[in-house]
Symmetry: D2
Subunit: 215 residues, 4 copies
């Protein structure tokens, strides 16, 4: 089995991006599966283009894209990506798309087909905080997740794919009072559990337990 993991370039004035810091430290194999790692530019459309090139070339079975969610307290497994670009800040090539659809011929939204509940449950079992998120925002993270699920829908129906957001790591918040962070070690551990769980559930239904939000 082949698993593609992606992290992002730093953006918004940060010097590092915890998603890539974590992914680049992954071993080449986990649980008998080959791990491919790619750094994705935090740029509208270029990000999706780069993802598509690697998917087309490598034909992975599972794709997990990872991004930074500064200010969140835990590892959040995204449930859904929506067909909108609405950038609060310019991307790394100064594009600031506002209220445009990502793909004109795409659905309004796509749901992750990773076992999102099982991933949350397994990460928590290992004493690392995790939860389901119902929004990946409207910047390049949601954009890439949408692009991945659009590609799966249109061209690669056998791929299991989704997106996981990770908090800032400690060194990013040393001068940001009251902003939560997680150690890189715990983030890597949590993401490895996500990989192993995705492999285990490759041909199985996700588990069901309540982890929704009231609002």
């Amino acid at each position: 089995m082949k698993i593609l993991l992606t992290g992002f370039d730093p953006f918004n004035g940060e010097k590092i991006n915890p998603s890539w810091e974590a992914i680049k430290r992954f071993p080449k194999m986990i649980g008998g599966a080959n791990i491919l790692k790619t750094k994705i530019p935090t740029v509208f459309y270029k990000s999706i283009q780069k993802l598509e090139e690697i998917i087309e070339k490598e034909r992975p079975n599972i794709v997990i894209c990872v991004g930074q969610a500064g200010g969140r307290t835990d590892i959040t497994v995204e449930r859904v990506a929506i067909n909108i670009n609405d950038a609060k800040i310019p991307d790394n090539e100064k594009n600031q798309l506002i209220d445009t659809p990502i793909f004109e011929d795409g659905k309004n939204a796509y749901f992750s087909n990773l076992p999102i509940k099982a991933i949350v449950k397994e990460i928590r079992k290992n004493n690392i905080p995790a939860s389901i998120s119902n929004t990946a925002g409207t910047f390049v993270c949601n954009h890439l997740m949408y692009g991945l699920l659009y590609l799966i829908d249109k061209k690669y129906p056998n791929i299991k794919g989704g997106f996981i957001h990770v908090p800032y790591i400690h060194k990013q918040v040393l001068n940001k009072p009251n902003i939560p962070s997680m150690s890189l070690k715990d983030i890597i551990k949590g993401l490895k559990i996500a990989v192993v769980t995705s492999i285990k559930f490759y041909n199985k239904q996700d588990i069901e337990f309540s982890d929704g939000k009231i609002s």
Copy 2:
């Protein structure tokens, strides 16, 4: 022009629901338009059923459903509803739906067709904090919003509709330390601006400005 406004029953141990507290105080006319007001039960499907009955009977031009988002700091205009029920708590009739689609034949998500950006801009102009939200959660608020937009998509294409979340009002947080709230007066004022703006943009495109979220 006819405008239907809905608020919810109290839930989750609260004695009041600020959405209905606000809506029930609305006048019968605003800017020459007739205002209809309905209290919706915080119950899966019954909520949508009640909404549909009134829409079918009254044929409003605009429908704005309002709900409580405890813990948010401002009036949030929802952008999108997703086709999922995932209840963290039971609804008011003890149903706790987990990971079921709202309608099997519905789209993955529907976007509000209210002028959401114009509403945010106008509320802010009046010095009341407001913003776009990209998730209405996975409980009855998202459920009702999805139901409304599903009905618009399937049966009532001329209706403009969407959902607005309001914070707790002050008296709900007197014993909840560090939880933000807004005065009922400001909530009513903000919602009136939403109504007036929806009327004004009934046949116009929404304005464009950046109010997205990074994550």
Copy 3:
């Protein structure tokens, strides 16, 4: 009876200071007492000096200093001021005092002698969120509160005095996502209740109820 109320100049890039916005709108009399209002510069020592001049000249019975606590959700009645200057940012005359005592001959801390619990209770009774705070920070707010209580301790033993922090008002947070705020109207209402309660308890013991913090 004579009551002195003070608010501060704007600081930290803000265009207004809600403390002065509130105080300057106070009437000349409340409950038979004369209200004196003074704007205090957000400057170390100059603030205390200006306060002392007015106290010396006017001999008020009660002094309530008010300041902005950006980020807090409610009206907070300060319990204690500590003998330290530790400025995170420069004051309005570019002084940035670090780890110096306010007065060498002062006590480590002074407790407010306003009826802080009664004030909190009465404000809440009027459905405005309020609580006791155990820190006024280490910038000019704590500095002025300390200065006031030092003066009471050393020279004006009959004065009742203390400090109240108020949240940002709405217009300050229109472009600050997720930061709580309160309407100026509610702030003024809360502060008036504080004044009336201080008069009522001028010769009485404060009430007792639990409003402490675990940490």
Copy 4:
């Protein structure tokens, strides 16, 4: 050199207290100094009594008491303890003291005489978030810190002592949405740095840099 470290019993429905989880895992020696470890009951006065017995018996050079500050994002080095008990919840023996002084003959407040700024700086240097706190609350943490500094002031002038608050550890927040936490490993690492720094500064002035709070 002899160093006494204390942690607390669990309280407020928690099954563990991260302060004791951390302290009990400390080695017997650090940097040539002997480490003594004691678990303190989360009970008014009993806590101080137990602390005094050990101090009297062991005559440590440095005492660092550690407690849980649920909801904080980082390791916080307390600057000051105030002479008040105001319990929001009952302690572990059902005492709920409200607005009583800790010691009638004590000062209004005592400042930590640990090198608090150096500790914060050194912890941060090791990429663990830390900051100065200006309130230890009004429950048993502040109570014990006050008791320690009172004892130093009255009877043991050569002891260096103070208090450090640590966040929840991960397993405490698995079912507490949006509440920050830190890994036990990082907490232990941070506290060890605090010990080493306290030894290093035993006969030296603390460093000076700005780490105050506006409010």
